[in-house]
Every structure is written in structure tokens, then in C-alpha cells.
């Protein structure tokens, strides 16, 4: 109680009225104490919600640093600190403006109970307001009786400030939108656009992986797909910095490696399915490394059209192989490589011999052939040398006829035999510094090493070797024997003859 217990006006109070006045004051003090407790909770809740809003806004602002570099200083840690300070400020401000007097408590009680200002009138009548003694005594008696029956829960409904009232609605709406996975703009969720895009790619890959794992009954692959999907969703919906995302992806990679190692170690015990899955994982790692190297070389070298067509076909082959073996991520790398050399590759394919190098006999080749048939290309199972038109038709500007130059350069086409070859190259580089044979030799060596590595399935080795032989035959028509299945480059080592399965 902040104030002294009032006495009924009108001289010496009667004993009953004194008792009633004391009782009324005690009841008011009890209500005041309850109200203070409720107010503390309300202040804490309002401050917490205010801090939450600040944090969210700051995180969104931090993500906007992608388009507005001035905001780069706003790290999540700093945002958390600012939000904490804001919450403390809101708490202090609200606490300062909130004084819980007995009059305020009684007025609030009157409002909640609908007693039409009975309690506040009684309190003021007892406090010395002009009022006849008999009316004050009557009010005191009625007010004390009524106040004694006030239940504590009457004090609990908290009245929040107007901005705070909207917050639960906003939070519920956001939670609902997240639950139904509506395509919200990423910045509304405080997620960087790049991370959101990465998350979408990861989820797309996970869906494909899960579908094929279901079709081919590969539980381990399905587990990997689930993990990838969860990680992709987290990238899309959780606000995190680039460093946090990098750490999460490293953790993801570690999980994948761990599963891969587990699959290898459990290979004998887990039967055919586990063995197949482990094999796939091994292939994925090896082929990815090989593809990266190939792409790097392709980017470094100045290729003729035929060389570019050869690289294109090579990459396409590996892509089909990867598609057949659920290597979605490697497939994206291949797609990226295809995109860079697409223009030259498409032109080169027109002059490439069809059906050279033998047809694919392994499952990957058959799958690729099926895929081509389904696409309606009409190429049939003509083998890896078949000049099927790539699905992507984008032409890089740096190798387009308009921006590049065509010039003649000597090249070794056979042992002791040189001939002039037309090369389209970038004007800035002016000429091709590396003969195409060296590039192809590099490809050959790398693919041979790939073939001999332990992780590659045996049935694919002749398949890749045939493809490599096809590269040697895919020189321009005026340089290579028509329809010849033999390599025209003596410098290329003869492939190892391993029996096909």
C-alpha cells in the first residue's frame, strides 16, 4: 500500500466502519500487489517482443548488405546486442511510465468488473472527498463486500500496447506461411538471396535423389537425400550469415563423407544395396574431381571448334553417366561446363562423325540412349560419338564469330605430319598457344587414370575408353579418315584392352 489507510469522514468513526475501512484498504493493497505482478510480466513480454522485432529487422537489414554494402558492418552478433539493448530500453521506458497507484488499480477493477466506478468512488469517499457520512458508510459496506469476492484471475488479463497487439498476429502469420512453405521473398525471412537460391538448388537435388533412391531401393541414398533436403530448407528459412552457411555446408559435407565411409566399411555386411550405394558415392567423388580438372583445362585452353566439340561430347557423356548413377551435383558442374563452351561445341558437333567409337553397352550408355530417345532427338543408340544436339543452346560471347577471330595454326595430326588447322580464338589472346593434341592427350591421360582408379565401376571402363577413342576420330572431316574407327593421332597411347562385361 502506498497510502495510509483512510478513515470514514464525519468525525470519530464507528467501530464497524473502522473495521470495514481497514478491510477495504487491505483488499485494495492485495489487488495492487497482484496488479504489479501482472504488470511486470506484461513489461517483460512487451520488451521481449520488441527485442524480437528489432532483431528481425536488423537481420533483414544485415542481409540487405548484399545490395547495399554500407550495411556490411551489421553482423548477427551486433544485431543481437542492439536488440537486447532495445528490449532493455523498452522495458525501462514502459516501467517509467507505469505507476500503479491504488486509484489506478481500482479504476481498472471497476472497468473489468463493470461496477461503474463503485470502488474508486468508495476509495475517494473514504479518503475525504465531500460525501455525507451515511452515503460513505453505505458505499464502504457495499464496496468491501464486493471487493472481497474479487477473484485473482480478474487481474490477469493483460492489456498490451497497440503495436504489441499486432505482433502475435504477425508471428502467427509468419509461422503459418513457413508451415505451408509459401514462396516468400527471402529478405522477408531475413535470408540472404544467395543462400536462399543455394537452398533451393540443394532441395531440388535432394528431391531428385530421393525419387531415384525410391525407384532403385537405395535406403542409404534416401537418407542422404533427407539430410540434403533438411539442409536446403534450413538455408532457405533460417537467417544466417555467409560464414554460418559455409560452416553448415562443411558440416553437411562431413556427414556425407561419414556416410560414404560407413558405406565402404559396411560394404560386405550390408549386401548389394549398400555396396551399390557406396560405389555410387565413390564414383561421385572421383568423377567430380576429374570433371573439375577437365573444366579448368577447357577454360585455359584455346580450342578449335572440333576440339570444343570433342570436349563437349566428352562432358556430355560423363553427364549422362552421372545422370544414370544419380550424380546430380556433378551433373550441375557438367552443365556449367557445357554452358561455357556450348557455342563452339554445337558448331563442332556438326562436323563430327556419327556412330564412331562403337555404341555404349553398359547400363549408363543404355540409359543415355533411352534418354535421347525419350527426348525425341531421333539419334537412337548411336553411341557416344553421335552428334545429338545439346539441350542448351546458349553461346558464350567470347567464342562467338562476331567477337572472335579465325586464323590458321600448324598442328600435328600424325607422327611427323603437320597440317594447318583453322582455330577460332579470342582476339585478346591472338593465337592458340597450345596444340589441340596436347589438350586431348591430357584428357586421355586423365580419363585413363580415372578408368584405372578403383572407384569406377568395371562396366563403365570400356565405355569411357570407347568414348576416348571417339575423341581421336572426331577430327574435322578433311583431316580424319571418313568413318574410321581408328584414332588418327599416333601420339595417343593405345587404350588398354580390357574385356567388356
Amino acid at each position: 500500500m502506498d497510502e495510509a489507510v483512510p478513515h470514514p469522514p464525519g468525525g470519530e468513526p464507528a467501530a464497524e466502519e473502522t473495521l470495514l475501512a481497514g478491510s477495504f484498504a487491505a483488499l485494495v493493497g492485495k489487488c495492487q500487489q497482484r496488479r504489479r505482478r501482472v504488470a511486470r510480466w506484461r513489461l517483460a513480454a512487451e520488451a521481449f517482443l520488441a527485442g524480437l522485432v528489432f532483431l528481425h529487422l536488423l537481420l533483414i537489414a544485415g542481409q540487405l548488405a548484399v545490395v547495399w554494402p554500407r550495411l556490411e558492418w551489421l553482423s548477427p552478433l551486433l544485431a543481437g546486442g542492439i536488440a537486447l539493448g532495445a528490449a532493455a530500453g523498452v522495458y525501462a521506458r514502459l516501467r517509467q511510465g507505469q505507476t500503479i497507484t491504488p486509484q489506478a488499480v481500482l479504476l481498472e477493477l471497476d472497468r473489468r468488473l463493470g461496477t461503474r466506478e463503485r470502488f474508486i468512488t468508495t476509495w475517494e469517499a473514504l479518503g475525504g472527498a465531500p460525501c455525507p457520512a451515511d452515503i460513505a458508510a453505505l458505499l464502504l459496506r457495499q464496496g468491501t463486500t464486493r471487493l472481497a469476492h474479487v477473484e485473482p484471475r480478474v487481474m490477469w488479463p493483460v492489456t498490451f500496447s497497440a503495436p504489441t497487439k499486432l505482433l502475435p498476429v504477425l508471428l502467427l502469420t509468419a509461422a503459418l506461411l513457413l508451415a505451408v512453405e509459401l514462396p516468400l521473398p527471402s529478405f522477408l525471412l531475413g535470408v540472404a538471396p544467395q543462400l536462399s537460391q543455394s537452398g533451393e538448388e540443394l532441395r531440388s537435388f535432394a528431391r531428385t535423389l530421393a525419387q531415384k533412391a525410391e525407384e532403385q531401393k537405395l535406403p542409404l541414398v534416401g537418407k542422404v537425400a533427407e539430410r540434403l533436403a533438411a539442409e536446403g530448407k534450413r538455408l532457405q528459412t533460417r537467417s544466417m550469415s555467409g560464414e554460418q552457411a559455409r560452416r553448415r555446408l562443411e558440416a553437411l559435407q562431413q556427414d556425407l563423407d561419414r556416410w560414404q565411409a560407413a558405406a565402404r566399411s559396411e560394404l560386405p555386411e550390408r549386401g548389394a544395396e549398400s555396396g551399390q550405394a557406396a560405389s555410387l558415392l565413390r564414383q561421385r567423388q572421383d568423377l567430380q574431381e576429374q570433371l573439375r580438372e577437365l573444366l579448368r583445362q577447357a577454360q585455359r585452353s584455346d580450342l578449335t571448334r572440333s576440339e570444343a566439340a570433342a570436349v563437349h561430347r566428352h562432358l556430355r557423356l560423363v553427364r549422362e553417366l552421372l545422370e544414370a548413377q544419380l550424380m546430380g551435383r556433378a551433373q550441375r558442374l557438367v552443365e556449367r561446363g557445357l554452358g561455357r563452351i556450348m557455342g563452339a561445341g554445337e558448331e563442332g558437333e556438326e562436323g563430327a562423325p556419327r556412330g564412331s567409337g562403337g555404341g555404349p553397352e553398359g547400363p549408363a550408355g543404355r540409359q543415355a540412349a533411352r534418354d535421347r530417345d525419350e527426348e525425341g532427338g531421333g539419334q537412337g543408340a548411336s553411341g557416344i560419338g553421335a552428334g545429338s544436339t545439346p539441350a542448351r543452346s546458349a553461346t558464350p560471347q567470347d567464342l562467338s564469330p562476331r567477337s572472335s577471330v579465325l586464323f590458321e595454326t600448324p598442328a600435328q595430326v600424325a607422327a611427323g605430319k603437320l597440317r594447318s588447322t583453322a582455330i577460332r580464338a579470342l582476339p585478346a589472346r591472338n593465337e592458340a598457344l597450345r596444340p589441340s593434341q596436347e589438350v586431348l592427350s591430357d584428357y586421355q591421360r586423365q580419363l585413363e587414370s580415372l578408368i584405372t582408379r578403383e572407384g569406377l565401376p568395371r562396366e563403365y571402363r570400356p565405355f569411357i575408353r570407347d568414348y576416348f577413342l571417339a575423341i581421336g576420330l572426331s577430327q574435322p572431316q578433311d583431316d580424319a579418315p571418313a568413318g574410321g574407327a581408328e584414332p588418327t593421332q599416333p601420339s595417343l597411347p593405345a587404350p588398354r584392352q580390357e574385356p567388356r562385361r
Partner: protein, 335 residues
Amino acid sequence: MTETAPGMMSEEGLAAIHANLRRVREEIGKVIVGHEDLIEGVITCLLCGGHALLEGAPGLGKTLLVKSLGEALDLTFSRIQFTPDLMPADILGTTMVLQDEQNRKYFEFQRGPIFAHIVLADEINRATPKTQSALLEAMQERSVTIGGVEHRLQEPFIVLATQNPIEMEGTYPLPEAQIDRFFMKLDVKQPSFYELRQIIDRTTRAENHRVRSVLSAEEILGLRQVVRSIPLATPVRDYAIRLILATQPEHESGSELTRRYVRYGSSPRGAQSLVLGAKMHALLRGRLHVGFEDVRAVALPSLRHRLILNFEGEAEGVHAEGIIRELLRSVAEAP
């Protein structure tokens, strides 16, 4: 009715007051169908010591209401039909020269119809301003001075003036300063379907309903004291003040609507009417404490005739009732 005397208030006394007031309303309700708000408003004016201006179309039972009120309260009743040729002496009375038995002539004041407890000033706006002023002065001073002699009007004294809002030709609208002296302005509304059915049933049959006397003049005066002794909590009083100030366009707390359409807001007399009316509203419901709701309930009859609209408000057809309702919505109970 000793319970109604101040200083002896108890729960039983409060219950008796409530029951008596309810009986007055019931007795009037025997004759007057509907119009509960109107009856309550008239009783409020009577017990608060004010006068009421009743505005309504002819034939709605205004005169019958006032007459029934007089019967229910055991008070004297007089009716003055205001006409353009009505003179102040016709209302207040006049000094006449009389002759006694010794043939000596002397002056004697002959009381006019205003010397009654309840005076019905029918169609007050048909009299000239001079006559209106005579009545309104008597309403305010509660006394009549004629020939240098002051004649006190008997208490309780209440003037119930009526005016017809339809016919404006040949009328003298009450000046704003004079209309402010009415405690409340009550609208007499048209009866609803069910009320009209009851009116027909009651007035077209053989039996007549008799109004019994329920309260005496002394009891009414005692109740006036009770009403004034009802305490008013500070927040409620401040709310009434904020409401009054919000009607004044020149005041800083005046609302946007007030600044735009109101030329003059409520006077302090309006605040008195608002607070006393709220107290009476609470007492009529058996309470000795006044709430915000009571203030809101009497705001319309207490203030509607005190808001003088400006030209823009008149031109746009704005009503004072609309402005008051808007103020009741916008003015907060707590500052």
C-alpha cells in the same frame, strides 16, 4: 419516506428510493405508452431542479405526459398555450385594483399560471421574445417580481416547454442564451408499431387508467438533496469536464469536428447538467456511485441544445447529436 432524508441513508432507504422512482415511472407508464427515455428525462429534470424542453411533433403525448407526471407526483399542474399575442402578465400574473367592504381600493397580486409545481409551456416558440423572456427569467430565478414585490415560486418547480420542430412559420425561436437555461432537451420520438398498437388499445376502449399519486412535494425535495449528495469520483468528474471542453472549438482539447462545425460549445451550465444528470441516472438504477456510463447516458439530452453550429455546420446539415456522439467515442475516460 423518511429514508430519503439526507444523513439517514441505508441500504433499505436506497432500495425504497429506487422502488419509489420505479413506481413513478410505472404510474406514468399506465397512461403514456413507450417514451421511457422521455419519462426518465422529465423525472431527472424534476429531481435535479432543472427544466426540460420537449421537442416533438404534435399528437405524441407531450401534454398527457406532463399531466400524468403531475398526477403521479401529487403536484399542482398548469398549462399555458403560447400564442403570439400572449403577454408576460398572462403568465406571471398581474396586480389588480380591488375594492374592500369599506369601498377602499387596494392592489392585489393575482397569480398567473406559472404559480404551479409543474408548468407546461406548450409551443413556447410561438410567443414573442418578450413573453418568452418573462418565463425564462422566472425559470432561472424561481421568483416573480411584480410591482416591486418578489413572489417566490413554490418548490418543486419545473417548466416543461414544448416546441414543434415542423412548423417554423410564425414562430420565434428561442435565443441561444435562453435555451441554455433548460436542463435538458428531450426528443419526443414517434411510437413504434407495438407502442402504437398499445396506444390504440388503451385510448379507444371504455376503461380509463387512473394515475395514482406516488410521491409528494416534500419527498421530491428530499430526493433532490439525495441526488446532490451522491459522490462523484475524480476520474468521472474529469471525464465530464473533458467532454464539455471538447465541445468548445476555441479550446485546445476541442476536436476537429468541433472546430469545423461548432460556433459555440457548451457552457458551464452544461457541465452542471451533465454531472447532475449522471447522478440522477445512477440513482434511478439504485446506485450511489456515478460511472462513466452514466455520464455518457445523459450527454445527449444535456448537451444537444447547448452546441451552436456555425454556418458551415448548418449548410452541411450537421446535427449536434452527431457531434456529441463522435465526442463520446473520441474522448477518453482516462487522460
